[in-house]
Symmetry: C2
Subunit: 352 residues, 2 copies
Amino acid sequence: MTRRPPTLSDVARCAGVSYATADRVVNGRAGVSEKAARNVHAAIEALGYVRNVAAANLSQQRLYRFAIVLPSGSNAFFRRVQALFAEAAARLLSDRISLSVESVEAFDAEALTARMAALAESRLDGVAVVASDDARTASAIAALRARDIPVVTLVSDVPGSQRNAYVGIDNVVAGRTVGRLIRMAHGGRNGRVLPVVGALSARDHAERLSGMREVIGDTFEIAPVVEGRDRFELVEALVGQALAEDPAITTIYSAGAGNAGLVRLLEALPPDVARPYVFLHELVPHSRRALEEGRIDVIIDQRPEEEVARVVEHLTLLADRRELVRTDPIVPTIFVRENLPQVQADALEQAG
Amino acid sequence: MTRRPPTLSDVARCAGVSYATADRVVNGRAGVSEKAARNVHAAIEALGYVRNVAAANLSQQRLYRFAIVLPSGSNAFFRRVQALFAEAAARLLSDRISLSVESVEAFDAEALTARMAALAESRLDGVAVVASDDARTASAIAALRARDIPVVTLVSDVPGSQRNAYVGIDNVVAGRTVGRLIRMAHGGRNGRVLPVVGALSARDHAERLSGMREVIGDTFEIAPVVEGRDRFELVEALVGQALAEDPAITTIYSAGAGNAGLVRLLEALPPDVARPYVFLHELVPHSRRALEEGRIDVIIDQRPEEEVARVVEHLTLLADRRELVRTDPIVPTIFVRENLPQVQADALEQAG
DNA sequence: CAGGATTTGATAGACGTCTATCAAAATTCG
DNA sequence: CGAATTTTGATAGACGTCTATCAAATCCTG
């Protein structure tokens, strides 16, 4: 009934060669005649042989060593990413995968480059990095690749560089998605959108805005963009000012961080007047609460859980010099009040 | 620098006991003094020992045998689920996991029960089943459990039964989510919703409707429910009739299957009149095309890819008598035209 | 067909865990 | 205290793959 899966010895026997020869074939070592190789491959096919990875890893004492470089600071999203990596690290220990999660000062390309140079010196099987799109970063990536260390960019890409893969959302797509929802929310009527970003010079924020613009069309009005530097006090002050000065605003689209300030502002709004629609990015404790309490309408999330899983998957495959699966970008996910995921245990921890 | 992860021998040495004793402790075998056990646990803690699963599985020649029971028939969603399981099966072979994907006639509780009874006889490590919520199914599940075979329900649950876990969405949540989007689409105004289901007696469809009702509130009107039996010709005919007779309809919410008929109807609509908003479930080739062409507005998807991954994860953990992680329900995912995932290779295949 | 190169076979040890056995030591109990 | 019981130690073989070595067989080439 349940028969034992074929081993390489079975393959060898079936192919009429010795174990040594079969082994030479499957591990691509030299010194095998073409005929023997053909026989072995035929036997593999016939028996449906698949290598037992458990045994292979065991014999090789394979140990994957990956480094994850995240920006430090108080940004709630990256705190969540960090927590997810920490959790993954604990789980992956039993698979002989060790993740070293490091952080460098946010927006400090100098520090990031230095850190990456240091990583190039240490013996690693792969690096994932939240990169800034910057020539120095690109050459730091090149340096890692020169040492044969695979590199995956995370959340923010460096398109021209030699990174092996990018794990994250397409920000234009995210912006377009928000554009569609803004149109839906206006039910065919026009409106006036207040865009809030960290800085217009940040490529991801700019891409989100332009994606949104694409979809809402020319008949919508767009108020002057607020640049909140991703700092919540500044966001709170500037958006408050914009709302006060421009009562025609029907929608706020916050494409950057610092949304704690936006939430605080919304909490302080008089309850009798209708508030504008609010769309923002990243499901974190304060944005979640705001959505639950009906102070905002939609959160666009890049599903950091999925991103973390993919980073590990990619790094492992790259370390084995295998082909990547699932290289399509992460899909921006739409959360309304009603389809919020249950709060996970680890999220509770980080809130406490 | 990279030091070898500790083995059980290291633990034994550190605890001052023999390998045999350490082994007795970690494998919960009898005949160990309390003191020795304490020492071993302390050593495990101190060294950060984690069992090498590769080695363990190897030594035990562990082979996981799971059966997946899906409804047969032409339903596009289940065809997709089936394709995903087939793909997973190929991938999992190298992890010594064998999935046998079987199908039984849809809606035939008799056949399903018989199949499950047969599975109870064969030597299996777990079963996943798209169950009908039905007393006979519940007792078939009980029979499997009696043979110590874990059971996971998939897509459709049997709440009162002894199933170990349910992998799927909460249909009330899905309906609420649609309700929220319907409200958004009406931009504060009221409307008239035409609900389309397979049958009102189908619990999942009914739950979706009631979730939707909860959120849209009393000021919305709801037209008489169309029961399309999940058959696309019937859906096409009945919805066409309803739209012709009731021009006040602003929104169609199709909570069931047979949406190919709905799409065909929408394609035939005169292009000059504004069509109602359309919300439906499950991202499959025809619904995707309709969304891309702007004939419908939103697809609520239960992410079968994630469900398949979770089923495998759960079955493996259950087979090892370990604790389940991630028992929270799957989150219904909102797709608009702009955030559709890229078409996967396997999806292309199945379309061809 | 001799000499050299290439291909093949046989085999041994390692990886870390599991299972099992047997004898030695420590503990309990009458 | 001696006998019965429980706890420990030592160790061996298996799982399937990888690496390595060495000798034997086969293949070219002149």
